[in-house]
């Protein structure tokens, strides 16, 4: 079956170059980087090279890179590791549209007696920075706000937020899992203290992440163990994956331009054609400040899971913020926070592209999507009612 994979915010294909780079470290080069002998030492050298490549993509110093097992671990470590360093401070500020790796940690902390301020977003998914300015207290230990939203692709003004937070002398963490590799990042000029990234969102495998920790940032290790990662994250290094991530970051830097030109053009083309061919369709999120690869689109009067399964039947892999796909009964917290009208919230579909997508694939989607939506609208009791109300029935 033909496969058109446009769910790259969920996960990406491992680049062949990345896999090739990893393979020797599963077999002949199995040494422990901490060992004193040459056999471990040669592996440590490769781990250091990978660290440099990650640092290079982020505009960071290699000593500021801590390898973790995934984006979720990075987020947990940043939040809990900061709060542990400021035991007297019991307040944190975050947003209502965070990924569960941050959002559910906040909920957990709320249960533990922390005060959590969740900043709201407007209809386009944008933050109100005045609300942030008014949220600080003497007790505030940390501000954690995502760089770009995984569902809508909306990019927050992270540097502007950093200015505000740092003026208060408070630690600032950002979940940049969806951002790294899609938007240029330069930590040398940034006000961000900590930044999370995940390998499998940029063509490295699942099971490897990074927490960037700026020099001088107060941080207690979340994973307590050996001296690895300069005592900031215990546990023997996941060598092949670290090396794979290093390669992926090297490639991501190379492809950054393509992401923001060719991929963005493909996304814009797909979006424009969908809006042109399918009535009662709306785009979710600030169209100006958005990841170049993401579009979240809502089709009124139909439900997302049904759309996804009909697309899937044709080999098209996308995702949805609808309730039914997640096993929850309400549409995604992101769309609800944005106040997307309920006629549209259940029918949202996210297409997220990568450098492996082509124009021909976009045309394939554009050819097959309109009849799918029409077919479901023909089954939906509300579509005919709507047409009647418009005098078209």
């Amino acid at each position: 079956m033909k496969i058109v994979y446009v769910d790259n915010n969920a996960t990406t294909k491992v680049s062949p170059e990345v896999l090739e780079e990893m393979l020797p470290y599963f077999s002949e080069l199995y040494g422990n980087p901490s060992s004193m002998h040459f056999f471990g030492g040669q592996v440590q050298k490769k781990v250091n090279e990978a660290r440099e490549k990650v640092a290079d993509l982020l505009g960071a110093d290699p000593s500021e890179i801590v390898f973790t097992s995934c984006g979720t671990e990075s987020d947990n470590a940043a939040i809990l590791g900061t709060l542990d360093s400021y035991p007297e401070k019991r307040h944190l500020i975050t947003s209502r549209v965070e990924h569960p790796a941050v959002g559910n940690v906040s909920t957990y902390l709320g249960r533990k007696g922390y005060r959590v301020t969740e900043l709201s977003v407007d209809r386009e998914g944008r933050l109100d920075l005045d609300e942030l300015r008014e949220s600080f207290t003497d007790e505030t230990a940390l501000v954690t706000i995502m760089y770009a939203n995984n569902e809508t692709g909306v990019i927050f003004p992270i540097e502007e937020i950093g200015e505000i937070v740092k003026a208060k002398g408070i630690s600032f963490h950002t979940d940049a899992v969806q951002t790294v590799g899609k938007v240029p990042i330069n930590q040398k000029k940034s006000r961000v203290d900590m930044l999370s990234l995940s390998g499998h969102k940029l063509h490295a495998p699942k099971g490897i992440g990074v927490l960037y920790i700026r020099k001088g940032t107060k941080f207690s290790p979340f994973m307590i163990g050996g001296h690895q990662e300069k005592g900031r994250r215990g546990g023997t290094e996941n060598v092949p994956y670290i090396i794979g991530l290093g390669k992926a970051c090297e490639l991501a830097k190379k492809h950054l331009d393509e992401e923001n030109t060719r991929i963005k053009t493909l996304r814009d083309y797909l979006e424009a054609k969908i809006l042109e061919k399918i009535p009662n369709t709306l785009i979710n999120g600030d169209p100006l400040n958005r990841l170049p690869n993401t579009v979240s689109v809502s089709f009124e009067y139909v439900e997302g899971e049904s759309i996804l399964l009909l697309l899937s039947d044709l080999g098209i892999c996308a995702s949805s913020g609808s309730a039914c796909t997640s096993g929850s009964l309400e549409p995604s917290h992101v769309l609800r926070a944005m106040g997307v009208p309920f006629t549209a919230a259940h029918g949202s579909i996210r297409f997220s592209l990568s450098i492996y997508n082509t124009k021909e694939e976009m045309d394939y989607i554009i050819e097959h999507l309109p009849p799918i939506i029409q077919r479901l609208r023909d089954i939906s009791p509300f579509w005919k009612d709507y047409l009647k109300s418009q005098g078209k029935g």
Binding site: E303, C324, K384
Partner: protein, 280 residues
């Protein structure tokens, strides 16, 4: 991804009886756009008061569309009295089962049917007569009590799967818990559980039940030990099976068969089942 049966996929991809009947004898609508699913059911009777034609329109996920389609197929040709007895379990079984989280789709089918029958009889279902327990999804105590009774539910989570109640903000969870406790107490008083009353099964029902029991209770247990089993034939009460994988050369296979498969089939299907192994 949901583990939908082939039957669910078929009824989703090729839904039967889509549409709306003009001037129906009965019409019912449940759900809403805000809730994420809705079903409008219309039917017409023939001279002998049987459901001659029935159509549906559904907004919702794949299992909601499949449940609606299945419902129309089930009730076509039935009298109102027969249709009234159709349960949400019948809809789910017709589809070869639904993921538990999706059982509310079958309940929605049952509720639309009830609403359409009430409409045919000129009765009005007045939601206001009942207490709304779940404000997020507008679920009443009556709906929750029915779901508990008809589906033998025990936990808040299950009530959410079957009725959606409690699936939003979660504030009503203590209320749901109290309802479960009350209803279960009454259920146990009414029907003391000692022996499961087994209805006389038709051959088709028996075969289906044997297959279901094998698939749900027996094969997974054998597979856990590296074995497997094929159903070869059913002759009256005699069930012929062939063992595969590790089971087929296991010296205790006869023991496995007699003790395990037979006990399970007797428990779930009928007391007089006998299991016999055939060598493939």
């Amino acid at each position: 991804m949901w583990d939908y049966t082939e039957k669910v996929k078929d009824h989703f991809l090729n839904p039967r009886n889509v549409g709306e009947i003009e001037g129906p004898d009965g019409a019912g609508e449940v759900g809403s756009l805000a809730c994420g699913d809705a079903l409008r059911l219309t039917f017409k009777l023939d001279e002998s008061k049987r459901i001659k034609d029935v159509k549906f329109k559904t907004f919702g996920c794949a299992s909601a569309i499949a449940s609606s389609s299945a419902l129309t197929e089930i009730i076509k040709g039935m009298t109102i009295e027969e249709a009234e007895k159709v349960t949400n379990q019948d809809i789910a079984s017709y589809l070869g089962g639904l993921p538990e989280e999706k059982m509310h789709c079958s309940v929605m089918g049952k509720e639309a049917l009830e609403a359409a029958i009430a409409n045919y009889r000129g009765q009005k279902v007045v939601k206001e007569d009942f207490e709304i327990v779940c404000k997020c999804f507008g679920v009443t105590d009556r709906e929750i009590i029915k779901a508990i009774q008809e589906n033998d539910l025990r936990t808040v989570e299950q009530v959410t799967y079957y009725t959606k109640a409690g699936g939003g903000c979660g504030q009503c969870h203590p209320k749901i818990e109290a309802i479960i406790e009350k209803v279960r107490k009454e259920m146990e008083k009414e029907a003391p559980p000692p022996k499961l009353e087994k209805k006389k099964l038709t051959n088709i029902q028996k075969i289906k039940l044997i297959e279901e029991t094998l698939g749900r209770e027996i094969i997974p247990a054998l597979k856990a030990d590296g074995g497997d089993l094929d159903l070869i034939d059913i002759e009256g009460n005699k069930v012929l099976v062939a063992l595969r994988g590790k089971c087929s050369f296991c010296p205790s296979s006869e023991f496995t068969l007699k003790q395990y498969v037979e006990t399970k089939l007797r428990e779930f299907v009928s007391e007089d089942i006998e299991v016999e192994e055939v060598r493939p």
